[in-house]
């Protein structure tokens, strides 16, 4: 997983999918057929290459001029492998939710590619896009606003079938919805109830059932448990893990709670101000972080154990995240970094295995975008 270095060589970065040719947008039928091809476990199902999203800042009412751009996502690359969970963590405003929207093609990428089974979905539209969307579904953060209060649970979970009628024939839908309710641990008799009759945890289960309705292969979860109570969070996390095994799903799990991300993820990417700071397996990131931002983030997590707490070293960052409209030159983290030197202001560090760890057989040898990458265990005392 760590041996590919997509940031360094973005051009030839889709090596594993040669069997599925990057589809010509004109030959839509071919493209749709390619989507049904199964992906082996451990093969990449989603490949993101140099993804960029800039939101323009304009001035003037009649004559609009662009005066700048909010660089929400500024060139990130990663792979999602079949059957795994990739966690994405970062502070608010680092662009993690924008990544989710770009992967769903809810926002048009400014540049860069997202390959789903070898097909670039950022350029798709119409029928081909609809076919892709069937396979990539999303679970939203707030179970209170992501369900229409005027629709019954049956209508909410069954709505995807209106858009993709080929998945379930009309007469079969009610039974399927009841099955889905059962799968997510809700009573199938609740099919005619409305969202307000459910608690937060139950609503999130409804959201998950809706996400599962079309038998997707990839589910993008944007902060799926952060609005829930502690005791209910664990239930929903366990449910998501069970469903992953049962339906062979690949998750992108976006969250700001590092403990939960560690629990559910196989690999973790740390984002800062639109860039990926560090990416690796959960052990590499949590036990052997090499990027100072990851180290600071981990050390700031409150630990529910007062004794371990007192022994741990804490790195408290000063200040706030700079504005993504005007990010610092060079390394974006340098304004808050205690290691920053002149080089950091001049050169943008690439996301690659740091020079000093190259070839070495240590868990620290994973991709990290820092000129002065150094291993430091901050989780253990």
């Amino acid at each position: 997983m760590a041996e590919t270095t997509p940031a360094a060589e973005p051009q030839d970065a889709t090596p594993n999918v040669s069997d599925v040719e990057v589809a010509d947008v004109n030959s839509e039928t071919e493209a749709v057929a390619a989507l049904d091809a199964p992906v082996e476990r451990g093969e990449p199902i989603l490949q993101v290459r140099n993804l960029v999203k800039h939101f323009p800042l304009t001035q003037g009412i009649v004559i609009k001029r662009q005066i700048g751009a909010v660089k929400a996502v500024d060139g990130i690359s990663f792979d999602l492998y079949q059957g795994e969970t990739l966690g994405i963590v970062g502070e608010s405003g680092c662009g993690k939710s924008t990544v989710a929207k770009l992967l769903m093609n809810l926002e048009r990428a400014t540049s860069g590619e997202v390959f789903y089974k070898g097909q670039d979905i950022t350029r798709l539209s119409g029928r081909a896009l609809k076919a892709v969307r069937r396979n990539i579904q999303m679970i939203f953060q707030d179970p209170y606003t992501s369900l229409n209060p005027r629709m019954t649970v049956g209508d909410i979970i069954g709505e995807p079938y209106d858009i993709h009628p080929e998945v379930a024939p009309k007469g079969d839908r009610r039974r399927r919805v009841q099955e889905l309710l059962d799968v997510v641990g809700l009573n199938p008799e609740y099919i005619n109830r409305y969202p307000h009759q459910f608690s937060g945890g139950q609503r999130q289960r409804i959201g998950i059932a809706r996400g599962l309705a079309l038998n997707p292969e990839v589910i993008i979860c944007d902060e799926p448990v952060s609005a829930l109570d502690v005791s209910v969070q664990a239930q929903v996390i366990n449910l998501m893990e069970r469903l992953q095994d049962e339906f062979n799903l690949s998750y992108i799990f976006i969250a700001h709670d590092l403990s939960i991300v560690r629990h559910i993820s196989d690999r973790v990417g740390v984002m800062y101000l639109g860039k990926m700071a560090e990416i690796g397996s959960d052990e590499q990131i949590y036990e052997h972080p090499t990027h100072p931002y990851t180290q600071a983030l981990l050390s700031a997590v409150p630990v529910p154990d007062p004794e371990a707490r007192e022994q741990r070293e804490r790195i408290i960052l000063t200040g706030d995240v700079p504005s993504p409209a005007n990010p610092p030159s060079g390394c974006r983290f340098r304004t808050r970094c205690w290691k920053a030197q002149d080089k950091c202001a001049e050169e943008v560090p690439l996301l690659a295995i740091p020079e000093r760890f190259k070839g070495a057989d240590t868990p620290a040898a994973h991709e990290s975008a820092c000129h002065f990458a150094e291993e430091k265990d901050v989780v253990h005392a």
Partner: protein, 353 residues
């Protein structure tokens, strides 16, 4: 203590010499209920706790456990009706605030007891500058002029470490980041150097790095002013950092109290144990998370007996019929454990077994 002499703002009966007589705040058998169309919601059912000067009490609980309602009752900011306080006492320096007149309570609020709210963006007025809102404390409570109040506001913003305070005093809340807004909330609570601060989920809306900054600031200011602090939260991690003692609430009752180290080491209530087991840990990757089954109870119909019994693995018949009182917890050999109590019929098995 440069800002003011706190005794100036206080009613005569509560002047500084009240200090040292028992706890700063003593809540006794507090009940709060809400009249709704569907019936009476019993949000708080007999809560007891006390806080001393310089002490931090963490009140831990899920949504609907009554932790925020208790705090609002102490502040006297409950809407009555629909809320009602059928019984109980809230003693501040020994005097029951529930029997005071509205005017007396208004004088205490802000000056002696202050509150920090969870969501700083909605707690601050968006159309007034932060300097004006901070200065309001001094104008209303102390009759200062606008100019003096603004100078005080700058001083306060400096104190909570907002960079370039003098330049930013005329900025509006939306011009500040989440962490800075929370600092302004803290500054506002500190303005009149109260004896007690109630912080209701002060860092829930913040990122971890900013959360650490804000909690550090709060702890530092508390030490400096020797204030009592009630920290309301659902995050066991935050509590471990700053609290001296903890009260765990469930369905409007306190189910366990303990000094902070003791609680994490040996919980004496199955609910506390479940909560501790259900949080994923940063330093270990377990298999399946332990999850407390079921849902928090509907406060319109709290289960009979122990409110936690439908979700409890240890529940027996007695749990469904008799409500367990909050009893002191002792060592296996009977020696006392100061500050510890549990409302479980089987606390002995839970803590020692």
């Amino acid at each position: 203590m440069t800002i003011i002499d706190p005794t100036d703002a206080a009613p005569a009966s509560l002047s500084g010499d009240g200090k040292g007589k028992g706890p700063l705040l003593d809540v006794r058998d507090l009940h709060v209920e809400f009249q709704t169309r569907d019936g009476v919601v019993k949000a708080v059912n007999g809560v007891n706790y006390s806080v001393n000067s310089g002490e931090t009490l963490a009140v831990l609980g899920e949504s609907g456990s009554g932790k925020s309602v208790t705090a609002q009752a102490i502040m006297g900011i409950l809407d009555m009706p629909p809320a009602r306080i059928p019984q109980g006492e809230i003693r501040f320096y020994g005097e029951d605030m529930l029997t005071m007149s509205a005017e007396e309570r208004r004088k205490l609020r802000g000056a002696r007891i202050a509150m920090i709210f969870q969501d700083a963006l909605s707690a601050l007025n968006p159309v007034l500058s932060v300097g004006f809102q901070l200065g309001e404390m001094f104008r209303v409570h102390q009759g200062m002029s606008r100019k003096e109040a603004k100078a005080k506001a700058i001083e306060l913003m400096d104190r909570v470490k907002i960079p370039a305070a003098a330049a930013r005093v005329n900025d509006y809340p939306h011009q500040f980041s989440g962490g800075m807004r929370q600092r302004i909330m803290i500054a506002m609570a500190l303005a009149l150097e109260p004896d007690l601060i109630i912080a209701d989920e002060p860092t829930t809306a913040l990122d971890v790095t900013v959360q650490a900054q804000v909690m550090d600031l709060l702890a530092e200011l508390q030490r400096e002013y020797q204030m009592g602090l009630i920290l309301i939260t659902h995050d066991l991690g935050v509590v471990a950092d700053v609290a001296d003692k903890i009260a765990v609430m469930y369905a409007g009752r306190i189910v366990e109290t303990a000094p902070v180290h003791e609680l994490y080491k040996r919980p004496a209530h199955p609910y506390t144990r479940g909560l501790l087991d259900s949080i994923p840990r940063l330093d270990q990757k377990g298999q399946e998370l332990y999850a407390i089954k079921g849902l928090p109870p509907n406060l319109l119909k709290v289960p009979s007996g122990c409110a936690f019994n439908p979700r409890c693995e240890k529940a027996q018949d007695i749990c469904r019929t008799d409500r367990p009182p909050l009893v002191p917890v002792t060592e296996a050999d009977g020696s006392e454990l100061p500050g510890r109590a549990s409302a479980c019929h089987f606390w002995k098995e839970t803590i020692h077994g």
